[in-house]
């Protein structure tokens, strides 16, 4: 069990949650994830680590209320205990000097790209973050991103701030206009990561995505998170979560993500 030190709704339906987990804070690296079980009935739910503080011994993650287990998590308050909290899991993101790096974040991935941007900035890269949401009031951590970036570009579907449309459209326009990136990193919903990969494919820029396939144990045992990369079966929990977007078989992933839609509705009835 770990204690919730702070929990804030940072945008409608989007929460940041900080828990006391000193051992995980000491080991966490950019791009890794944790697995959370809010109460004994909930699913094992993977969450990208968005921040950590070694001195305070805390770990922070961002989550959206989208299913029964994340609803349960949203009901918990500061001072409550999480039933289970395991990490850090997965291989960390490769951090070195590439040159100019574009980081695209949507949904929970805005928090997900933050520690990666911070580490890449420290490694001497020029950082351009693309933060996207449907509307301005759904964006979060703008100040934190701006602090670690040379430029933060916003895109909103309703045109309330920044580029009108999606971040994948924005980066595609940038690429077509001749803007040079040495590496592209995208974290967020599957469709967004797919579209970013397709946008950068013609330009041959290495594009790393953080795969959020369904996981159960998350420790290299059950095989639920399998995906096909470069024609080979890989497992997001131990081989990933980061893979080259241009090598992923996206059709399989996009259809496998819909496998439990019916059950998800049933499990939310109370």
């Amino acid at each position: 069990m770990v204690k919730i030190m702070e929990k804030t709704e940072i945008a409608p339906n989007v929460h940041s949650c900080t828990v006391e987990a000193p051992d995980i804070a000491r080991k966490a690296l950019p791009g890794q994830f944790v697995i959370i079980i809010p109460d004994q009935y909930s699913e094992r739910t993977p969450m990208t680590i968005a921040d950590w503080d070694v001195k305070k011994g805390t770990v922070t993650f961002i989550f959206l209320e989208i299913g029964a287990s994340t609803q349960k998590l949203a009901e918990l308050k500061q001072g409550d205990d999480l039933y289970s909290f395991t990490g850090p899991l997965g291989k960390p993101m490769e951090i070195k000097k590439f040159g100019t790096v574009a980081l695209i974040g949507g949904c929970y991935g805005i928090g997900g790209i933050y520690p990666i941007a911070r580490a890449l900035k420290q490694a001497g890269n020029k950082i351009i973050c693309f933060s996207e949401a449907r509307a301005k009031f759904l964006l979060y951590w703008n100040d934190k991103l701006e602090e670690v970036s040379d430029e933060v570009r916003y895109s909103t579907v309703d045109n309330s701030i920044g580029f009108k449309g999606h971040a994948y459209d924005d980066i595609e326009e940038n690429l077509k206009a001749g803007k040079k990136f040495d590496r592209i990193i995208a974290i967020g919903c599957t469709f967004m990561m797919y579209r970013v990969s397709e946008a950068s494919r013609p330009f041959g820029i290495k594009t790393i995505v953080s795969m959020n396939t369904v996981m159960i144990d998350g420790t290299g045992m059950c095989g639920a998170c399998r995906l096909v990369v470069g024609g080979k079966t890989k497992f997001a929990c131990v081989d990933g979560p980061h893979f080259e977007g241009h090598k992923i078989d996206w059709d399989i992933i996009l259809s496998r993500r819909k496998a439990y839609l019916k059950e998800e509705i049933i499990s939310q009835e109370r």
Partner: protein, 454 residues
Amino acid sequence: MREQPPGERIKNYDEVPYGYSPEEAVIEAERCLQCKNPKCIEGCPVEIDIKGFIEFIAEKKFKEGVTLLKEKNILPAICGRVCPQEEQCEIKCIVSIKNEPVAIGRLERFLADWERENEEIEIPSIPKYTGKKVAIVGAGPAGITAAADLIRLGHKVDIFEALHQPGGVLVYGIPEFRLPKAIVFKEIDFLKQMGVRLFTDSVIGMIKSVDELLNEYDAVFLGTGAGLPWFLEIPGENLNGIYSANEYLTRANLMKAYLFPKYKTPIIRGKRVATVGGGNIAMDCARTALRLGAEKSIIVYRRSRTEMPARDEEIHHAEEEGIIFKFLSNPAAFHGDKNNWVKEVECVQMKLGEPDDSGRRRPVPIPDANFRMPVDVVIIAIGNSPNPLVPSTTPDIQTGKWGNIITDPKTGKTSKPGVFAGGDVATGAATVISAMGAGKIAARGIHEYLVNET
């Protein structure tokens, strides 16, 4: 032994055999000839005094029987249920020459259940602390057996478990109707009462490396168990509705998907479920599918019944429950509907050829004899590799061709000083009892190492 009738039990998740009453146990125990030179004990990987505990049962001295049993086996309620006694102790029983062998496993289970149901479980005395500390990685059968033996030798023992519950395959893999989880947790509680400390949610290799453990502990035992499942690598295998056995069983058992939606982890409840494979795990999957409401639960196996590696008792239970066996059938492809859900499995019809390296007759395809079966869920139960997390984060530990940790079979020693291993991570997928045997061997190896080399 009395059992739940097949028609009843496929509608629930309760244990199938009821267990002996004291009267039944005494009658069975009286069948033992009390041989001067008992062969059964030679067959037991953990050297239980079988003759001795059976004599106590025959004399109705159940408490003395339990004490004797637990001298060698700290987890009798589990072993009595899942050990393959028919290949170990019972096969050696002299009575079996003319009659059914003495039901050693059932008597073992009887004593363990009797103790649990009838009185406070007695905690054995622990010798004076030796000053040595051992870290056990993985709270599965290998790890808990090693822990039990080491704490009784006076060492301090901490267990690190990756999942949120201890038990390993006993909890995530073996279904409730074969091994009730309450029994596993009770046996692990017994370890804790003896002084073993258990840390769940602790993935060694990630939160702490093996080298970091060696800074805090005098020795480390790796019992990290099974790893990633093997797939058939045939077309259509990533369609929706196709599970690995590990995923299917973990959802059903550890995450309690059979109680969905009270428990929130879903599982697809197929009407026509095909399980590919012929081992105990395949039987567990097919029988779980029935209990989750399958109208037809089909085992698809490429050889014949004779070559099936599953225990006879498991095959027998599966047959009684109405599992359909498609022998000599090897999947070649899965076909899906327009929404990418599996709807058919295409199989190659096989025949048996010459024996292969394993001594079993090799299945050979019959040309142009492919056939298709309608299915809505498929479970691939053809085995798995050892867990990759510790080997991949411990570069100086020597591993074999399958990523298994190489050990000395007599001591459990690995190539890394102070580090021992046993169970599936060393041997590849095997049985609970062989993992427990390996835990016992390693405990002895660790004890010698602690006494002589630290």
